[in-house]
Structure formats: structure tokens, C-alpha cells
């Protein structure tokens, strides 16, 4: 049995692809394109060209125009820019925001920031499987609605929202739609142009690219107020020296990503995982089997105390809730939205596969999880019913 550590936390972040590392490294040293892409000299122009090439590749993967891609430091910043930037730029100063209860913290907390500025926020509930319907979105929109923000793939349970239909609904009411696609890009085809999405947050590090680089898709004609001031980079929408190696890394990441090929491969691994874990008694799937991103599996081990479950499996890299909240003993807001009790939410694990996950890794994980679950179940044998609910 290999000593390779078991990494099943690809929804938290991924290892960078060797081709991406090579492309990044070529932008760093004295013999590489280290120059400032804003510099007028030939070295600057070369770096600028690399940046523009990357922009093209990213645009190509999501069916956008290169001019619609604005580089940021990640999806967190993209979400902030999209949401705050939309309200700051709204010509009619509308003050209503529609979003869901299962968004990533960077949307959740930005919504709080909006409230502090006097914006009213409507948070749509999801059903027990994590799905939000177009009807809910339509019902929530009022004359005061400036923006709707719905994530594509949920980072904890992997549920996929029907963005195409939601975009149509928003368009029918002339309301702008922002989509957080941090988890989906590279794994599920994105047709931003075709769907009519207005704003879409992307990040590299969930798709075997580097951390600290992301992009915001800003559809042609959509105006935004910059949130970071200084410098004319990114058409004035995002100041700061362009990090060539990061951008080139993201470009390579999106160039290498093939949702039509990678998605099915990941889904096979995830299904193998679910088949193996399914043998464990009392296990339940959190989310929606039919509308789940290919890389995410969120399962609940009823009757096993959450903290013990996590410590028992500490040698396998998995997440309880999302990584961002890992230091936080609060139960996940997403699992709570599905209707899980705090205890069941705590007894849930997110397992997520990636490009470097092998079937053998999945099998080892199933074995280890099975063994620890059996051990902790035995220890709690005879416990009252509330321990499993």
C-alpha cells in the first residue's frame, strides 16, 4: 500500500498541474517574463502579451470575449467586486439584493455589508436537496432589485443550480445576474455568453491552478464601480500590478481544463466512492444525487459524533463543511439549510476528488472510513436515539 497521503479535499483547493507550474515558473526569474505588464518596454509588452493570451484562454473556456474577463485575486474578491460594484454603479440606486441561503461566505458576508449600507437582502431557501428554483427567484424580484446572485455549484454539497433558467428569468425582469462559478469552472461546461449571465466569479485554485488569482466575467455593457482604487489596470476595474505568473497560471489551468472529459472522469471516481461508502450502515447523502457536481460528495454518518469522526479520519484530507470555516465549530449554514440538525451537520464530511485522485485512493479511503466508522459506532453501541438524529 502506497504511503501517498489521501487527498480528498479538492473542493477546498487542488494541487497545481505540472504544466501550470512550468508556465508560472517561466514568468518569474531573470530569464523569464518577469517584467511589469504595464511597462512600455519590450519586456513589458511580452508580459502584457502573456496576460492577454491567458485572458483569451479563460474567456474561451466559459464562452466569453477576452475583454469581458477582469483579473482579481480570487473568487472572494470577484464576488465582492461583482456585488458591491453593481450596487455602487446602479444608475437607479436600487436597494434590493436577491441571493440564496447556501452561498459561499464571500457572498454571505458581502450581503451583510450591503445591509449595513441600507440594502434590503432577500435570501432564498433551498429545498431539502439544496435546489433553488427559478420561480423562487422570480417571486423575489421587485422593482427595487438591482442584482440577483446565485452560485452555480455549491462548495459544500455540490448541488448544481439551473443557471441558464435563472439567467432567463432575470433577463425577463431586466435584473442583473451574478453567478459564483468558483467550483464549476473546468468541471462543468460554462456557457456564460449563451446563458446571458451578467457577472461570473472564477478562480484558478479549484481547478489545479494557483491560489490567489481569479477573474470576474463582466458581460459587455455591464457597468461596475471598481472596489480597488489606483492604476488603470483592467480597464480601471481592478487596480494593482498584474501578477503575470499567476495570470499565466490561470490561463494554462483553463486551457488544460476539459469539462467534457474531466467531468465524467471525476464523476466516475465520486460514484466509486459513493458505492464503497454506501455499504456503511446509516450513511446518507447530503444534497442531490441527480444534480451534483462531479467532484463533490457530502455524506452524513448518523450516530457518530462529528468531532470524533473528523479526528479519527485526520490522516485523510477531507472537509467538514467548507475549508474556510474549518476552525469554526459552528455547523455549516449550507447543511442547516438542507434541514439537518446541528448534530447531523457535524457528523457530515465533504469528500472531493480531483485530477490527481486515482481509483486506488478512493478504495483506500473507503476502507479507512469504513474502519473508523465501525470503531466509533461500536464505541457508541447502545447510545440513545438522539445521537443519530
Amino acid at each position: 500500500m502506497s504511503a501517498r497521503p489521501l487527498y480528498l479535499d479538492n473542493a477546498a483547493t487542488t494541487a497545481v498541474d505540472p504544466e501550470v507550474i512550468a508556465a508560472m515558473t517561466a514568468c518569474l526569474g531573470t530569464d523569464g517574463s518577469f517584467e511589469n505588464p504595464s511597462s512600455a518596454h519590450p519586456g513589458g509588452a511580452r508580459a502584457r502579451q502573456l496576460v492577454e493570451d491567458a485572458r483569451e484562454r479563460i474567456a474561451a473556456l466559459v464562452n466569453a470575449q477576452p475583454g469581458e474577463i477582469v483579473f482579481t485575486s480570487g473568487a472572494t474578491e470577484s464576488n465582492n467586486l461583482a456585488i458591491l460594484g453593481s450596487f455602487d454603479a446602479d444608475p437607479r440606486s436600487r436597494k434590493h439584493f436577491v441571493t440564496t441561503r447556501i452561498e459561499h461566505h464571500s457572498v454571505v458576508d458581502t450581503a451583510h455589508a450591503l445591509e449595513a449600507r441600507g440594502v434590503e437582502v432577500t435570501r432564498l431557501d433551498c429545498d431539502a436537496k439544496g435546489v433553488v428554483t427559478t420561480g423562487q427567484v422570480l417571486d423575489a424580484i421587485t422593482d427595487a432589485t438591482a442584482l440577483v446572485s446565485v452560485m452555480h455549484v455549491n462548495n459544500e454539497i455540490g448541488v448544481i443550480q439551473d443557471i441558464e433558467a435563472i439567467a432567463q428569468a432575470c433577463a425577463s425582469r431586466d435584473v442583473r445576474l451574478h453567478v459564483d462559478a468558483a467550483q464549476s469552472a473546468g468541471k462543468i461546461p460554462l456557457d456564460l455568453g449563451g446563458w446571458g449571465v451578467d457577472l461570473c466569479s472564477l478562480t484558478a485554485h479549484k481547478a489545479h491552478g494557483p491560489k490567489g488569482i481569479g477573474a470576474l466575467y463582466v458581460a459587455g455593457g455591464v457597468t461596475l464601480a471598481p472596489q480597488l482604487h489606483g492604476g488603470e489596470q483592467e480597464r480601471g476595474l481592478r487596480a494593482g500590478t498584474l501578477a503575470t505568473h499567476q495570470i499565466v497560471g490561470m490561463g494554462k489551468t483553463f486551457e488544460l481544463a476539459r469539462p467534457e472529459r474531466d467531468g465524467p472522469r471525476l464523476a466516475k471516481l465520486r460514484d466509486r466512492l459513493w458505492r464503497g461508502l454506501g455499504e456503511i450502515e446509516g450513511i446518507r447523502l447530503n444534497g442531490c444525487r441527480e444534480r451534483c457536481a462531479p467532484h463533490i460528495l457530502n455524506v452524513c454518518f448518523a450516530g457518530i459524533e462529528g468531532e470524533s469522526l473528523r479526528l479519527a479520519l485526520a490522516d485523510i484530507a477531507v472537509s467538514a463543511g467548507s475549508a474556510c470555516a474549518s476552525d469554526d465549530p459552528e455547523p455549516s449554514h449550507v447543511l442547516s439549510s438542507l434541514g439537518l440538525s446541528d448534530a447531523l451537520a457535524q457528523s457530515s464530511l465533504r469528500l472531493s476528488v480531483g485530477r490527481f485522485t486515482e481509483p486506488a485512493d478512493v478504495d483506500r479511503a473507503v476502507e479507512r472510513i469504513g474502519a473508523e466508522v465501525a470503531r466509533l459506532r461500536a464505541l457508541a453501541d447502545g447510545a440513545p436515539a438522539w445521537c443519530s438524529t
Binding site: 450516530g303 457518530i304 470524533s308 465549530p329 448534530a343 457508541a380 453501541d381 447502545g382 440513545p384 438522539w386
Partner: protein, 141 residues
């Protein structure tokens, strides 16, 4: 959450987990639970000649609780029965380096031991027993 090596060791390989088969001679059983704290615990205590011969525990709860139960089982073996009412919780918490927010669970573990004591059905006055147990513990630590 950080765990002391004492906790990690006992959580990974508890010393006295399990239960005695139902008809084992000289075994008393005591339980306690607290849903709000997320803990349920059951001790099986085997006595012979007034001494605790062996203790087993079952538990639903966090790693600290598992480690504490395991440590307590170890400490009780060979002690007189009255030790069931005289566990020095401070000493347990100290040995395991438990964070304060876990102390509540220790009290529930103590409750389960007291339930065992009660199950013993002795006529002695419990407070008197506790007093002499405390003396034992002091010598012990």
C-alpha cells in the same frame, strides 16, 4: 481544535472501550447523557472483593470525552469501590490538557460513575464514601 498527545493517544487506542457480556458476574452498569452537550456514556464496572477489577466504557461524544473515559477506567482499576464516587476531575482535566469548554462533559462522565456507585446498592453514606475516596485520590496523584 488542538489535541494533547494524551488525548490523541487515548482517542486512537482507548484502553477500556466496550462492555461486559450481559451476564458477567459482579458487574454494575451506570449511564449518563446530555443531549445539549452531545454526550452519552455508559460504564460497566466489575468488582471483586470490594475492589474494582475492571472497567469498560461506551461513549458517544468528542475525542476529549473518549480520552477522559479511557483515562478514568485506567485509574479506577484496582481501587476500592468507593473510588467510583471520588474521581478527581481536575486531575483528569490536567492530565489530558482539556480545554475548559469541555469540563461540562467531565461532569456527565462523573454522573455515570456515580450511577454505577448507586447501582452497587450499598448502604454506606455516599458523602462519607466520597470523603475517603478523596483521601485515596490525593495519595494517588
Amino acid at each position: 481544535m488542538n489535541y494533547s498527545s494524551e488525548v490523541l493517544q487515548r482517542f486512537g487506542l482507548p484502553q477500556a472501550d466496550g462492555a461486559f457480556p450481559d451476564e458477567t458476574e459482579g458487574v454494575v452498569r451506570g449511564e449518563a447523557e446530555d443531549r445539549s452537550l452531545g454526550i452519552w456514556i455508559r460504564f460497566d464496572v466489575q468488582l471483586r472483593d470490594g475492589l474494582i477489577r475492571a472497567v469498560r466504557f461506551q461513549l458517544f461524544g468528542c475525542p476529549h470525552a473518549i480520552a477522559a473515559a479511557s483515562l478514568i477506567c485506567e485509574r479506577l482499576e484496582g481501587k476500592p469501590a468507593r473510588a467510583l464516587a471520588g474521581i478527581d476531575l481536575q486531575a483528569v482535566a490536567g492530565s489530558l490538557d482539556l480545554p475548559v469548554e469541555k469540563y461540562g462533559k467531565l461532569l456527565r462522565i462523573e454522573d455515570a460513575l456515580l450511577a454505577c456507585r448507586q447501582a452497587l446498592g450499598r448502604s454506606q453514606d455516599t458523602s462519607e464514601a466520597r470523603k475517603s475516596c478523596d483521601e485515596d485520590e490525593t495519595k494517588d496523584s
